[in-house]
Amino acid sequence: MEQKQDVVYYQAKGGKYRWVAVTALLLAIGAILKMVTPGVAGVTPNWTIAMYCIAINLIRPSLSQAVGIGLVAGAVNIPFSKSAFPYGNLVSELAGALICTLIVSAAIDIKIGKLNIRPAISGFLSTVCSGLVFTGILKIVLSLPLQAYLYGMLPVVFITGAINCLITQLLYFPAQRLFDANGGH
């Protein structure tokens, strides 16, 4: 049986749809965390946004993929949440996913010293952007008073943004190490 064979190097052709799989699974996690998170002083992270930010940081999608991811993210919570305005969620997550993708694909380095803080920045801006869009739509559609918007909603948007900033940064790196360990059984 001993025979010398020529070694052939193959290009990995797999993983064409890994971005679909990763995003689907992370969005599922976002949806369950939304259900099980203990409310901390009334402020909870927006897990859905945090999860698609991690997904987008991992997979670096194109803008057209980002549109799809944002819409799916907005839709995933519809069957579970008691969202006040599902169509608002579709639009706001679309905005969040686009912002995140723009930051992720920006050619500039986003670092403090040696620390890459791109995940944190993308997590913060996506959450704030998505929050502003959602509350903005809500304000107009439900004709909420300006004071309620300024003092009730905006602070929540920014606090959630800060929490998400932290979560995205903390979870991204362990996730990324595992994501890149392709085929390392």
Binding site: R18, A21, G68, L171
Partner: protein, 221 residues
Amino acid sequence: MFKVAPLTKIVFTMVVSLWAVALFSPLALSVVVGVQLLLMVLGRVEAKTYKATAYLALFAVFLFLLQYVFVPDTRLALVTGLKMMAMAMVFILVLATTRVQDLTAALVGQCRIPYEYAFMFTTALRFVPDFLSESRTIQEAQACRGYSTKGNIVKRMINFLAIVKPLVLRAISRSETMALSMELRGFGSQKRNIGSQVALGWHDYTALSGMVTVTLGIFLY
């Protein structure tokens, strides 16, 4: 009503949202809410649908109060609460009477949404129960190791991340298996047949023309 195609129901959610945005009369908005409630009864939805609707109603009351505190105008506050109710309820109604897969099939087949995204959506839904039980297991395990959800906000959050992190990491490693299995099963091939979908029938055209009429009525009025 419930023989209408999924596509018609998707249009219905949009149209109802549009009505809710356009209408400013508490009476008209109550009618929109009332009709939806009637459709739920006619559609013999499960008890949990009413429970979800009750939650919404509670939230509508909260919105009413919020609005009233800032602007003490009962009529305006009522409109706000009812608008929210009308818009959110339609999703509960449609999801209680239609399978999610049929809705996505309509979106892919009739609205030309790329299949990848419909797949992403239903697959996410498929894994929700699995991850829910997984999160409970992890939570119990971490509780045994002395993680608690007490302490200040930052501490509690970081402790909670001890539950989230393993979930996320498992999802990442699962994604590899899933992506491989998707390719083995021919995902992404151009040959894919779009699956069975409900073509629009006379029910649908009746329903759709009804919706158009009401919409025109609202805007002309």
